[in-house]
């Protein structure tokens, strides 16, 4: 009985009775963690065929497998072809199980220095071990990290090296020339050549970053006590793009800024210098002398923070920007512009040097590699595009409905409204009964609008009819074209998967949402071009929206929004679809919102769909 008392009192005091050695326990924890995550740490090797037709190992790097299918993250500079231009098509990748797998480059983000490759199983149906991606947004200086990888290419038996250390800083910015490290993780954990692209783990065994490399300084890149890593949240923003085989591009706001010390405080302010006239920021009203306050939910007070806040997003994403003009605080959604530094737009290099010689591919991966401009591997783009369009077809198959389409119902435009009728039809040419022409018409109450979308010589004013819609009739025509013909509806393979982008579903009551982040849905994007009009179509996917915790607002793969650009210099016509109901085996939207710029044009309540 006395013994029990002793134990109880020890518990209350919180003293470890059996004096387990904390250092030993910590060590045991680490050993277990290493064993848990190690199977999915990859050693990547390149092959050189110049001297030996069988190929010799010519350098390598590290990576981490992120799903059972064998998709693996690494650095762009690991997969880059010579002169940091395109990509090497194929690799040999060793896993700690001792097997050397064939792999192919899937997608990449050069500016962010990240790439996605895919390993091919040795036997059909073989599942790969993988590691979970963590949240690098919660990282703080002082947290423990573990780095694993093919340090100095020592992993000849494919067992990675392990090192252990601290996060030294977060949100770091450093420009390395070919790559720009924005929002980077800084660590004191040892990383060497060959560790590039390898995972940085937190102590839960989640991947929170990828190794970039050391800080080149006067002591060289080795042993400087400072290393930089890509935060995994940035890679997540580009992951869908990379899965779709895209050669990704980063973004700019389209404005130049500088820091200024204000009169009334010693804190710096970030002032807008100049705004490019073809930028969305310009159209949203940003102008010289405005003070930037926050971007995408992050405060920005200095240039480092500004570059880090912007540098983690792909081009064309729409994100909230808060700025101050005199004493007014304004918030608006801004579409980001393409970043590509000029030197990279010309792969031949300055001075007209010839482009780097093509690197020879090998193995299983070559069956799944297709070159195309703008893509790292077009094979995976077609795969992703067709998957999205197939899913849509399962929800509502329009492929036989290539005849006339009619929608009727009511519309509501700032409190006014009435009945509407929208029609897309083929009209017989009265002069030549054999030929027909396509016509879109829209009746809003007593007003009639008509557009022949394929007619030559249409002006921007014609195309954007009705006024203040950005081209609603063209948008409806393109919508029908995509739904009925799919990828074949675009001329010259100009229908591609465009990765992942946010869509903001504005509240039905027309009021401004409290936070734009709260109404944001992540969607897969299909880019479509027909009759020289570009459009983007947004498909809902629940796994891209973990914030909803399983509460799906739309069925998986539903087409929920579109943006149609009759002219790249002006705001697109935006369509948002909602209130989906089953009509004769098809899931059809019964409400559509049309927007242009940052304003709502009208809400349409669709009562009757007639599709032939």
């Amino acid at each position: 009985m006395r013994k029990h008392l002793l134990i109880c009192s020890a518990m209350m005091l919180g003293l470890p009775v059996f004096a387990a050695d904390p250092v030993k326990d910590g060590e045991l924890d680490r050993v277990k963690l290493v064993q848990k995550v190690r199977p999915a740490v990859a050693s990547i090797f390149m092959k050189d065929f110049s001297g030996d037709p069988r190929g010799r190992i010519a350098g390598g790097g590290s990576g981490v497998i992120i799903d059972a299918e064998g998709y693996c993250l690494t650095n762009y500079h690991v997969v880059a072809a010579e002169a940091m231009t395109g990509v090497r098509p194929t690799f040999a990748v060793g896993l700690p199980n001792g097997t050397l797998y064939d792999a192919v480059t899937v997608g990449c983000d050069r500016t962010g220095d990240v790439a996605l490759i895919k390993l091919f199983p040795k036997t059909p149906g073989e599942k790969f071990p993988f590691n979970e991606l963590g949240d690098s947004g919660t990282l703080q200086a002082g947290h423990w990290t573990m780095i694993m990888g093919n340090a100095q290419l020592l992993s000849t038996d494919f067992t990675p090296s392990v090192s252990f250390g601290l996060v030294s800083g977060t949100g770091r910015y450093s420009d390395f020339g070919f790559a720009e490290h924005t929002d980077a993780i800084q660590y004191d954990t040892t990383a060497n050549q060959g560790n590039s692209g390898g995972p940085i783990f937190n102590m839960k065994g989640q991947v929170i970053g990828l190794v970039y490399g050391g800080a080149p300084g006067k002591r060289g890149a080795f042993n400087t006590g400072i290393g930089y890593g890509l935060p995994i949240n940035t890679a997540k923003n580009f992951l869908m793009h990379m899965r779709a085989g895209i050669f990704c591009d980063h973004a700019t706001l389209g404005a130049t800024v500088n820091t200024q010390i204000s009169e009334d405080s010693d804190l710096a302010r970030l002032m807008v210098n100049q705004v490019l006239e073809d930028s969305d920021a310009f159209r949203r009203g940003l102008s010289e002398g405005d003070e930037l306050l926050s971007f995408a939910g992050r405060d920005i007070r200095n240039l480092n923070q500004y570059k880090s806040a912007l540098g983690i997003y792909p081009k064309e994403w729409r994100l909230p920007l808060t700025y101050k003009r005199v004493n007014d605080k304004k918030e608006t959604l801004v579409r980001l512009m393409s970043y590509s530094p000029p030197v990279m737009k010309n792969p031949a290099g300055p001075g007209g040097q010839p482009a780097a010689p093509k690197t020879k591919g090998f193995g299983e991966g070559m069956k799944y590699f297709e070159e195309k401009k703008g893509f790292a591997n077009y094979y995976y783009n077609r795969l992703a595009r067709d998957r999205v369009l197939e899913t849509q077809k399962r929800l509502a198959d329009y492929s036989n409905l290539v005849g006339d389409w009619v929608w009727t119902g009511t519309y509501d435009r700032e409190g006014r409204g009435g009945d509407f009728l929208a029609k897309i039809e083929e009209i017989k040419d009265p002069t030549d009964p054999k030929s027909t022409k396509t016509q879109t018409s829209l009746q809003l109450g007593l007003t009639d609008y008509k557009l022949e979308p394929l007619k030559d010589g249409l002006t921007v004013a014609d195309l954007t009819e009705p006024p203040y819609t950005g081209g609603l009739m063209m948008a409806l025509y393109q919508y029908r074209r995509l739904l009925t013909l799919g990828a074949k509806g675009a001329e010259g393979e100009k229908c591609s998967h465009a990765g992942m982008e946010p869509v903001y579903i504005m509240p039905l009551d027309g009021l401004k949402p409290k936070k734009l982040e709260d109404i944001r849905l992540m969607c897969e994007v299909i880019r479509f071009e027909h009759a020289s009009v570009e459009s983007k179509w947004y498909f809902y996917r629940s796994d891209l929206n973990p914030q909803l915790k399983g509460a799906a607002p739309f069925p998986e793969g539903t087409l929920i929004a579109g943006e149609v650009y009759v002219d790249r210099q002006s705001d697109p016509c935006e369509l948002y679809f909602a209130d989906f109901k089953d009509v004769g085996g098809k899931l059809l939207p019964h409400r559509m919102e049309a927007r242009n710029g940052d304003k709502r044009y009208a809400i349409f309540n669709l009562k009757v769909h007639q599709m032939k």
Binding site: K3, H4, I7, C8, A10, M11, G14, P16, V17, F18, A20, D21, P22, V23, D25, G26, E27, L28, D29, R30, Q140, A141, G142, H143, W144, G165, L166, V167, S168, G169, T170, G171, R172, S174, Q186, D188, M203, A215, G217, K218, R219, N223, T224, G225, I226, I261, S265, D266, L267, A268, R301, N302, N304, Q305
Partner: protein, 363 residues
């Protein structure tokens, strides 16, 4: 009864099992964040080759006194600092004490600001009493190395272990370290460009010492990673005689305006090399006389290495030698006993040889 015992053991075991592991992998983030509040980023203008124009400082008084290393950029103009909250201030050097190779800085507030600063600070007197470091102590080093942070961005944090406590035997270029007290040797690359003046703290966040300037070890020629503990001592020459102070005492007295600067003799004239090679070059006739060997003194380091008259010296330790003057300049970096590599051209061949430098013969 037996069963009862078992049941009571189970929660006890679970509890015990959890505590130590939580302790061993306890994150450093909270301690780092609070220490960061007491550190500043220092910036100067210009700076000369090999020396950075930025550094780190430790706030040691609420009014804005700052302890840092006596870095060369402090001699310059346009001295300014960034506080942890992002505010920018000018500062001036209150005093530099060569015996500690340390400086005390003062924040200069604009005249309109009548409200005195009340900054979070490290209480040096308190820290030196409580916080001790010995070999095996886990520490954190915090600094703005490589100028990676600005404004309200956080200092870089590194974890390190004190590997030993001892004297420094190091130099930078031709300069010997002027400080002769004990330092904490660390096992992590802490003494990077801009790190000097940063803080070394323990896991409780107490200040243990200040990260020193970049120096190379005399014996191994590698960069030394070390910090000056608050308890380290230096002998100061006063008019009244010699007196020993700790770094903590120096900080306290300096902040209170009570420090009397040491009467240290000025650094010896370092214009001439202190080492002997035994090479006599051809007479300097033009500004850039090529370093052709005219004569080699028998028994000298050059003689032992095999240098001969008419050899042309191309490189000294990898640095190109364009003239006899440059050779002389480069030689000033070395001390007797250092080994240098010389590359020469003899006829059409390039040859490398190693010289062990000797002390200057007394004449």
């Amino acid at each position: 009864m037996l069963q009862k015992t078992v049941f009571r053991f189970v929660p006890a075991l679970l509890f015990v099992g959890m505590v130590p592991s939580a302790f061993a992998t306890d994150p450093y983030d909270k301690v780092a964040v609070s220490a960061n509040e007491k550190l500043v980023k220092l910036f100067g203008a210009g700076g000369y080759r090999g020396a950075e124009s930025y550094g780190t400082g430790i706030i040691v008084s609420p009014q804005g006194h700052i302890l840092t290393a006596a870095a060369p950029f402090l001699d310059g103009r346009e001295l300014r600092l960034h506080l942890p909250d992002g505010r920018k201030y000018q500062f001036k050097v209150k005093l530099i004490e060569k015996e500690f190779d340390a400086a005390i800085l003062e924040i200069v507030q604009a005249k309109k600001e009548l409200i005195p600063l009340e900054l979070p600070f490290f209480d040096v007197a308190e820290s030196v009493k409580n916080a001790k470091a010995e070999p095996g102590t886990w520490v954190m080093a915090m600094s703005n190395m490589y100028k990676v942070a600005e404004r309200d961005e956080m200092m870089s944090v590194q974890r390190a272990m004190v590997t030993s406590v001892g004297k420094l035997s190091a130099r930078r270029g031709q300069f010997e370290i002027p400080f002769h007290g004990d330092v904490l040797y660390l096992d992590t690359v802490t003494n990077n460009p801009g790190a000097a003046g940063g803080a070394v703290i323990n896991r409780k966040g107490e200040l243990l010492g200040m990260i020193g300037k970049e120096f190379r070890n005399n014996q191994t020629d590698t960069w030394v990673n070390y910090a000056m503990p608050l308890s380290t001592k230096a002998e100061v020459i006063l008019k009244t005689g010699k007196k020993t102070f700790t770094l903590a005492e120096f900080v306290e007295l300096a902040v209170q305006d009570k420090w009397v600067k040491s009467e240290r003799p000025p650094d010896s004239d370092l214009k001439e090399p202190r080492v002997f090679t035994g090479i006599t070059f051809v007479p300097k006739v033009v500004e850039r006389t090529p370093p052709y060997v005219e004569e080699v003194e028998p028994g000298s380091p050059a003689y032992k290495a095999g240098l001969k008259p008419d050899d042309l010296v191309i490189y000294l330790d990898g640095e190109p030698v364009y003239s006899t003057d440059i050779f002389k300049d480069l030689l000033r970096r070395y001390q007797p006993g250092d080994k240098v590599q010389i590359e020469i051209r003899r006829g059409d061949n390039l040859t490398a040889m190693t010289l062990e430098l000797a002390p200057l013969p007394k004449r």
